[in-house]
């Protein structure tokens, strides 16, 4: 839940930047940031639940 709130806050800040900045430049930056936010939303959904266990269990033998 905390994560959702944080994301909303970021969105508000981004809107304010559009008003203050040069229109063209901020529009591009805004688009990139929106894309990154969407990506992070998706990652929050698909990232393995127990990160510590997931990383610990990934053990490979050397190869080549």
């Amino acid at each position: 839940m905390a994560e959702r709130e944080q994301k909303k806050k970021t969105t508000t800040e981004r809107t304010e930047e559009v008003v203050e900045d040069v229109p063209g430049a901020s529009a591009t930056g805004d688009k990139l940031k929106a894309e990154l936010d969407d990506l992070l939303d998706e990652i929050d959904e698909v990232l393995e639940d127990n990160a510590e266990e997931f990383v610990r269990n990934y053990v490979q033998k050397g190869g080549e």
């Binding site: 994301k7 990383v55 990934y58």
Partner: protein, 497 residues
Amino acid sequence: MAIQKVCGIETEYGIQVVHGDPNPIAASSVLINAYAHDVARQQTGWDFEDEAPGNDARGFARDDAMPPQVETHLVNTVLTNGARYYVDHAHPEYSTPECGDALECLRYDRAGELILIRSMEAADLAVHDGSRLVIYKNNSDGKGNSYGAHENYLMDRSAPFTRIVAEITPHFVTRQIFAGSGKVGAETSIHDGRRVDFQLSQRAEFFEEQVGLETTLKRPIVNTRDEPHADPHRYRRLHVIVGDANLAEVATFLKVGTTALVLAMIEDDVSGSRSLVLADPVTAMHDVALDLTFTTPLPMADGSTATALAIQWELFSQARKYADDRGLACMGDEAVGEEVLRRWEAVLNGLETDPMSLHRQLDWVAKLQMIEGYRERHGCDWGDHRLAALDLQYHDLRPSRSLFARMNTETLVDEASVVAAVTEPPRGTRAWFRGQCLKKWPAAVVTANWDSLVFDLGTDPLRRVPMMDPLKGTADHVEELLDACATPTELLDRLSS
């Protein structure tokens, strides 16, 4: 003139068993058998006649050198696209067929990813014990165990090996600034005493020598394995073990394309990289991996210093001049050669002015941007397990889980051509003959390897067809002949007449 840089990539994939027998050799066998039997319906095995990975290009081998052993008992198959798909040590490995240029090499490397994805799906249907196989296209487990993504380039035997070693080393040390796949943290003692949050390369910290035969211990920047899989009097196959496996298409394309071009210059003895001799290539390689701003001065043999970016600019300038003076026939397709130069320049410009602007082109940038965004959103520090999880899951090949697949990176080959490359061989190399014979007469080709096919015509003895030239057996050479032959017996009769 430099000969055409026929090239290929061998990728050892990471394999993880969830809820099942963790034995990676058994798991890799299940995976590849599921593909060979249920998807490709392919039975032709690999022929080990030609394998000699212990031969050293320097003409000698150190007594303490440990060349790899040839394992003949594990699953090993040849596909109709001319590729080899097999269990190597404890990993599934896919070797692209011989490709005529860097773009084709990218396409067949991508086809390999599709083959591994289809293999996972086939294995899921084949096993009923609740276990799942998960495949990763990466190069280390984060715990000090590394596995490779090797490249191969066809070279003229007349180019002295000592010159190749001296002049390719600066490229191998510095190309990671665009070809690295990125990694959270460090896993060897190389960087002792230094804080390492993120490295450009997965592999850089595993390299301990400038030149040598080994691939699993004391890994060398230039590998001396001398196993041409072709006429040894005319050809050399440079076996390159220094790279990361890439997912970003631009990174794969540039890794292979720039290396092919620098090797062509070395072959024509116009490379000025003798002026780019590093004082200590191994240490430089480790330092470059840690330098996300490309400002670390690397000590040169002549007492000066240069940054990795400056070395890459110098190599690019030489390559641009070489192309203008001599053309780009060495790159297989002149237009592909020009595209390599154009992209190389654009990426160096990007790295110089705003590295993060390359998040759609380069793996390490895409990964770092994702991680920095995650850190900001969740307020985690670099030691947080979630960052290591992001790093690992970036390389997960499952479409439902892959983080890379969500990055919206730039593509250079269209998906339909990648799908076709899963079953169709390249037209411009001997892979075409191999693949077409396997498609046409799967039961008659009993074994195959890079430089021959063995046919069983139902009569003794078995018949071996040698293919000692990677640039013969192309569609131009044999398409008409193959079309005209109704049976393998007819083909062999006409080949021997």
